[in-house]
């Protein structure tokens, strides 16, 4: 009589494959796109008049081909200072005549008047500026606007910006719009 081979215990096999399954479930991220969102302006019309903006309402940021920053004529060594500079420029808590003007405006989403800054951030880069630097600048600017919105919402509603209702968000967005104007790039870097 042939010797009967003992059956393998396959019960734990399921556990092992479960382990593998959970590992892949956790480590996999069906890569979602994320990034900094912006709205491009429509193309310029031929005979469009450039709106006149008072000098004090413009924060001029220049980035050259060596990724160096010039903000309102002053060299800035660290990008990370840009956030506070932008915030101070838009907020202008001391009503400094060199920083942006504010104007009372009726915000219909909130049903009240609010002081809205006329400030515009003008950003100009060179064709030779690196994309990493451009994103770093954009990130700082976004951070500044996000913090302004957050502070306002904290003060007005007692909640962070993330937690307020959609309508309130719309209102806050109107008080602190992301006003960044990008000039056509310079071309000191030489070749196109």
């Amino acid at each position: 009589m042939a010797k009967k081979t003992p059956g393998l215990n396959t019960g734990s096999m399921a556990d092992i494959s479960f382990l593998l399954l959970t590992f892949f479930l956790l480590t996999s991220s069906i890569n979602t796109d994320q990034g900094i969102q912006r709205r491009l302006p429509p193309p310029l019309q031929e005979n469009q008049e450039v709106p006149k903006i008072n000098q004090r309402n413009v924060l001029r940021i220049l980035v050259n081909m060596h990724d160096q920053l010039l903000v309102n004529g002053e060299v800035l060594s660290d990008v990370r200072q840009l956030r506070s500079i932008t915030k101070e420029f838009i907020e202008n808590p001391t009503n400094d005549p060199h920083r942006s003007e504010k104007q009372a405006k009726y915000i219909d989403d909130l049903g009240e008047n609010a002081m809205v800054s006329k400030g515009v951030v003008s950003l100009q880069n060179d064709r030779g500026t690196s994309y990493a630097m451009y994103i770093a600048v954009q990130n700082q600017l976004t951070m500044a606007f996000n913090e302004l919105r957050d502070e306002y919402s904290q003060q007005r509603f007692g909640k962070p910006y993330e937690k307020i209702s959609e309508n309130q968000k719309k209102g806050v967005q109107k008080i602190y719009p992301i006003s960044i104007s990008e000039a056509e790039p310079s071309n000191y870097g030489g070749k196109k």
């Binding site: 069906i30 796109d33 994320q34 193309p43 064709r127 994103i135």
Partner: protein, 156 residues
């Protein structure tokens, strides 16, 4: 007592667990295949810059990507190290962008056409010149909603 006397030993039959592992393995393979899937293979090398103020794009179906970066190893000999634009599955020039935008708009419902987000996936070493040119073309094609793809870092 006799009423409750057990009539012989009834044993619940064991479930056969042998096929369980097959089912789980099937799941496993499914997830393994899913995770490596990409919409289109990239011909350019892209390492997106890092940022902290990152927003997630909501509707994946309404995102079209424009890739800019150096050609990868298979193409760098033929095309050189200059950054190139990849639209869908081919290398493209600036002039192709308007056409690409139109084609992508045609693919969507009429209602959704203005809602498309154009995700610029650009390598961090690329110079702004090429990015600006692409942006100008997008403006001409009235594709205004732009997303600069970045990876998220938490530290400031």
């Amino acid at each position: 007592m006799g009423r409750f006397k057990k009539e012989g030993k009834k044993v619940v039959p064991d479930l056969n667990m042998g096929s369980m592992s097959d089912i789980i393995f099937m799941f496993l393979f499914f997830f393994m295949v899913i995770t490596t899937m990409r919409e289109s293979s990239l011909f350019v090398v892209i390492k997106v810059p890092k940022a902290t103020e990152v927003q997630k794009l909501e509707k994946k179906a309404l995102v079209s990507s424009i890739n800019i970066g150096k050609p990868n190893q298979n193409y760098i000999k033929k095309l050189g190290p200059e950054p190139r634009i990849q639209l869908n599955d081919q290398f493209s020039e600036f002039t192709d962008i308007i056409e690409f935008v139109e084609a992508e708009k045609q693919r969507r419902n009429e209602v959704d056409r203005t809602m498309i987000t154009w995700s610029l996936k650009v390598d961090e070493k690329v110079k702004m010149g090429i990015v600006t040119d692409v942006k100008q073309e997008l403006r001409k094609a009235s594709a205004f909603k732009v997303n600069y793809a970045t990876s998220k870092v938490i530290t400031k």
